[in-house]
């Protein structure tokens, strides 16, 4: 009996030692700048991280892509320094930051358009109105075949493709096309993997789908992009120009980075953000997005200098965030 007790005693000792070791303060992760968030913004941030690796080798950067929502969760916990976002921070997320004493500011780094695409063999449809898109994608949609959209079009079922519910593109599309209060239909191919959508549409003559503009740019020869008519009888195709000039409405959106202002006090984080703002125009274009307009770039630089000169009195200046679609 005593022996058994001893055995258990030593076991308990070993276990508690293990806990004590693991419970003590954790050394740094080795990364100076930790970024997480939107998978849409990821390619830009990755490009920035790659460039800064060559320019300033002593700044160590990690980038993850848990989605805007997932990134914001970590951001609110103070686990990351920068959150990539394909939308503005939600009030609930801002609330969490406030509770945890996290102050932040944000910069607009690029625009992204949502491309509505069909198969290249589709020679009947060049344009859809936002109203038609809404009819196609709303819950219990009466539209089953192309003929339902237009009498002259083939009597074939429309095979629909779209991103999954975790995607920021999905949120944006629902917001811009369906509007508040209309639910999206079910029973079509949804995937978080944009390639699944691209391949599906490229192989299916009667397909229709939407995804980020960058994926269309990379697969231009396999897809046909539709012009979208916002309802004024003036359909616009997504291009670099129409997205930047916001004439490709309503399917374009701004992309942001949110910076934790506590982290921002670190010179290396500052350097990273500076580098980001200086190079985002060229890099976002390279990876298939649309650079922000000149005046926003200047505004970003102003905001940056204000923040570095110790002017972090305001936590969040939101006046410019809502501006892009105005």
């Amino acid at each position: 009996m005593v022996e058994r007790l001893q055995r258990f005693g030593s076991l308990a000792l070993v276990l508690s030692m293990g806990l004590a070791i693991t419970g003590c303060r954790r050394p740094s992760s080795g990364a100076d700048v930790q970024v997480d968030g939107s998978s849409t913004v990821y390619p830009i941030t990755e490009a920035v991280a790659e460039e800064i690796r060559d320019a300033f080798p002593d700044i160590r950067v990690t980038v993850a892509k848990s989605g805007t929502g997932g990134g914001m969760k970590k951001f609110g916990k103070g686990e990351i320094d920068i959150c990539d976002a394909s939308r503005e921070i939600k009030s609930g997320e801002a609330e969490v930051c406030k509770e945890n004493g996290i102050t932040y500011d944000h910069f607009m780094v690029a625009y992204d358009g949502i491309a509505v695409c069909v198969n290249p063999q589709n020679d009947w449809c060049d344009t859809l109105t936002v109203e038609q898109l809404k009819d196609i994608f709303k819950l219990d949609s009466p539209i089953k075949t192309w003929k339902d959209l237009n009498e002259a079009w083939p009597d074939e079922e429309i095979k629909l493709y779209g991103p999954g519910a975790d995607s920021g593109t999905y949120d944006s599309f629902n917001e811009q096309v369906l509007g508040k209060g209309t639910k999206i239909r079910t029973g079509y191919t949804q995937s978080e993997e944009d390639n699944v959508l691209v391949n599906g549409i490229a192989q299916e003559k009667y397909a229709l789908g939407y995804f980020g503009f960058a994926y269309y740019v990379e697969n231009e020869s396999d897809l046909k992009v539709l012009a979208v008519d916002p309802g004024d009888g003036n359909p616009i195709k997504p291009t670099m120009e129409t997205i930047r000039e916001k004439t490709y409405a309503p399917l374009s959106r701004p992309l942001f980075i949110y910076v934790n202002l506590d982290s921002f006090k670190e010179p290396k984080v500052q350097q990273f953000v500076k580098f980001y703002l200086d190079h985002t125009a060229a890099l976002s274009k390279e990876v298939g997005y649309v650079p922000v307009a000149e005046e926003i770039a200047i505004e970003n630089q102003d905001k940056f200098s204000k923040l570095t000169s110790g002017g972090s009195e305001e936590t969040e200046s939101s006046e410019e965030a809502s501006e892009p679609n105005a």
Partner: protein, 296 residues
């Protein structure tokens, strides 16, 4: 006994029928084997065909890049090696110890049987569940962060049941007479276990461990769940580093818009397979080397 012609004909038919049936079955089995092999060869062939032209030293030691020509898998490879190294370090003593206790020490009580059933069940739990557990326990509760250490501990949870079950199997295959003989010579239980049973079981244990490590090497879901990142700029240099791993590279590249990255993904699969095959050959070697010394 007289057999009528009718009976003889019947038996003849029966024999033919039997022969046909037996032939059919063997053909079916052959077909099953061939289709398995075919699928495997198709997979390997397409991966090799697509990935081969990216496979060179520059691809192995290159850092991540948005440019497929420059992109390499060094950080992913090293991340994976760190992970499986630490996982082996944690899971072998724990797993073998647990198995030794269950096989050599524990009395066959209801309690032991309950533990046994649970271990077998745990081996079948989807790894994503362990990933979420790892996130909650290691990353948050124990404050290890999204570090390699937390990742390795998570993978340890995934493979521990496999190690325990394999070790138990290996221990059971050691004949009882060995233990009896050892006791008869006055050896204690510790001496018997350490000097007789464990060496005899080593080939089996090693096989189990290496299979478990191969499993850990291929896991992506639990790592993503517990917070592995997609881009790190350099290979990790301590157990506290933020990390990424080989399967994540495959997943990440396969999801890119540019078709060149899909070939890069295939090349990464080839590297992953190469590491796996190396591990398995190591297992075979160990089994052979240790197996030679065992005579009974």
């Amino acid at each position: 006994m007289n057999i009528t012609a009718e009976e003889r004909a019947y038996m003849e038919r029966y024999r033919k029928h039997k022969w046909l049936l037996s032939k059919c079955f063997s053909v079916l089995c052959l077909a099953a084997m061939l289709s398995c092999l075919g699928i495997l060869l198709l997979l390997l062939g397409s991966v090799l065909y697509r990935g081969m032209h990216y496979l060179d030293w520059q691809f192995i030691e290159g850092l991540p890049s948005r440019n497929a020509e420059k992109a390499g898998m060094w950080v992913y490879l090293i991340g994976s090696l760190w992970l499986i190294g630490l996982t082996a370090l944690f899971s072998v003593p724990l797993g073998v110890g647990a198995a030794l206790y269950l096989e050599e020490y524990a009395a066959d009580t209801r309690w032991k049987r309950a533990v046994q059933v649970n271990i077998a069940n745990l081996a079948g739990v989807p790894s994503i569940v362990y990933g979420l557990l790892g996130l909650g326990v290691f990353a948050w509760a124990l404050n290890l962060g999204h570090s390699i250490l937390a990742g390795a501990l998570t993978l340890t949870l995934v493979v521990l049941p496999i190690v325990i079950l394999a070790t138990q199997e290996a221990l059971r295959s050691v004949p009882g007479s060995i233990r009896q003989a050892s006791y008869a010579l006055g050896a204690t239980r510790w001496q018997t276990t350490w000097r007789q049973v464990l060496p005899a079981a080593t080939p089996g244990i090693m096989t189990g461990v290496i299979l478990a490590i191969s499993r850990a090497l291929g896991e992506a879901a639990p790592l993503v769940a517990m917070g592995a990142v997609q881009y790190v700029d350099r290979a990790p240099d301590s157990i506290w580093s933020t990390f990424t791993a080989l399967p994540l590279a495959i997943f990440e590249w396969a999801g890119r818009a540019q078709p060149e990255f899909h070939d890069l993904s295939a090349a990464a699969i080839v590297v992953l397979l190469a590491v796996l095959i190396t591990l398995n050959m190591g297992a075979a070697l160990v089994r052979y080397r240790f197996g030679k010394h065992i005579r009974w």
